[in-house]
Symmetry: C2
Subunit: 233 residues, 2 copies
């Protein structure tokens, strides 16, 4: 197929929905870029159509291989009405404000992935457990081994959705303002980027936790780190 050139095999297939209409220069149609954007977060905005209108809800996700796992409860209304319905999952990380010489050139530097598809309800118990592990580890790495895992009753009470990563687009906006070499540069105004950093803060113990329970190392290790950001922080 398209594997004759190095890297072409990594290219995302472009569909009518994932073709970029605006800011095409920001497109990153590569699977590796998609994986990076998805790996950098744990919260997505899930879009579904309910009674003809869009509904956008935040929810946690986990990505592994060719699959994105999602909790099913938030999508249940639209899926119950139409099991073949398409959803759109968007993951956005804001990296900085772009402060230009003119208001018109102001913008936001960000990384954004959009995934389209028809989610599948995971029924196989083994895949369900593995999907929940992926979901859990993406937001809270180490907790799957540390905390009590789901029992049979809890598994049954959880709806897990699997969405293929086959139809996706990635956009990345980075760099300084673009009016540094136009007439506005003569205005003598400061211009540049104001970075937005997301970091994990000091853990707050549950008020009812006995004082002798130590903070486990895998949680302590995250404090002050900026990996695994929220959806757009």
């Amino acid at each position: 197929m398209a594997e004759t050139r190095n890297g072409e095999a990594d290219r995302l297939v472009v569909t009518d929905r994932t073709r970029l209409r605006r800011m095409r220069e920001n497109g990153r149609p590569y699977r590796a870029e998609l994986d990076k954007v998805l790996a950098a977060g744990f919260l997505c905005h899930l879009g579904v159509v309910v009674d003809g209108a869009p509904m956008v809800v935040p929810t946690v996700y986990g990505a592994t291989g060719d699959t994105l796992y999602l909790h099913g409860s938030v999508a249940s209304r639209s899926l119950a009405a139409d099991p073949g319905a398409t959803v759109c999952v968007t993951v956005t990380h804001v990296d900085s404000l772009v402060l230009a010489r003119s208001v018109f050139e102001h913008s936001v530097n960000y990384r954004c992935a959009m995934v389209y598809g028809t989610p599948r309800v995971v029924t196989d118990p083994e895949e369900k457990l593995e999907g929940l592990r992926v979901l859990s580890e993406q937001a809270a790495p180490g907790q799957w081994d540390y905390a009590r895992r789901p029992n049979r009753k809890e598994l049954a009470a959880t709806t897990l959705l699997a969405l293929s990563l086959d139809e996706a687009s990635v956009k990345v906006s980075a760099g300084p303002p673009e009016d540094g070499e136009g007439p506005d540069a003569e205005l003598g105004l400061w211009a540049g980027e104001l970075p937005l950093l997301a970091t994990w803060g000091t853990p707050v113990a549950d008020p009812v936790l006995p004082v002798n329970v130590p903070l486990p190392a895998h949680i302590a290790a995250r404090v002050g780190r900026t990996d695994r950001l929220g959806a757009s922080g």
Copy 2:
């Protein structure tokens, strides 16, 4: 009307779309709560329906009075097809991970606002300028007065949308894990919250900026501050 009790006038009107199906205890059906969630961010996820499928795109917003202003370009595809189309605008701030004794009780503490409506294209030049000011000041306070404002040509090139805040819902999840008094408390595991903090970092000057241009005070004042967070950081 419903203004007989103190605070009732502040209550958000509940419609079929904004009635909470899940986690009703997290509902905050008050206008003041909506204003607070919107004021704490500048990036939303805009949901539109394109060819029957949902499309969710990140974009900046500005809120003032009863109106949310949005750049129109991202919604242009769906609005061109159907000027009366409903959109859903969702603003989410992630505050912490809730690390419980069981994986099943893990969750995310967040603040989320959802606004439904049919956006109106702003054509009045005065409202357009004011809407752009609100949009600009929400993300980059102080820049409207510091940077060069939009000229006539730039104003004409910008599509601004206005969305009423009349139909909205707010959800806030806060507090420790909920399994502190159940049988899992006996496991002796650490449980609590891991806060996610978003802060403005050190400004990065445009590489082509002359070295003698000082960083203005209104930008310097934001560094290290956690107000005006990104969409969910």
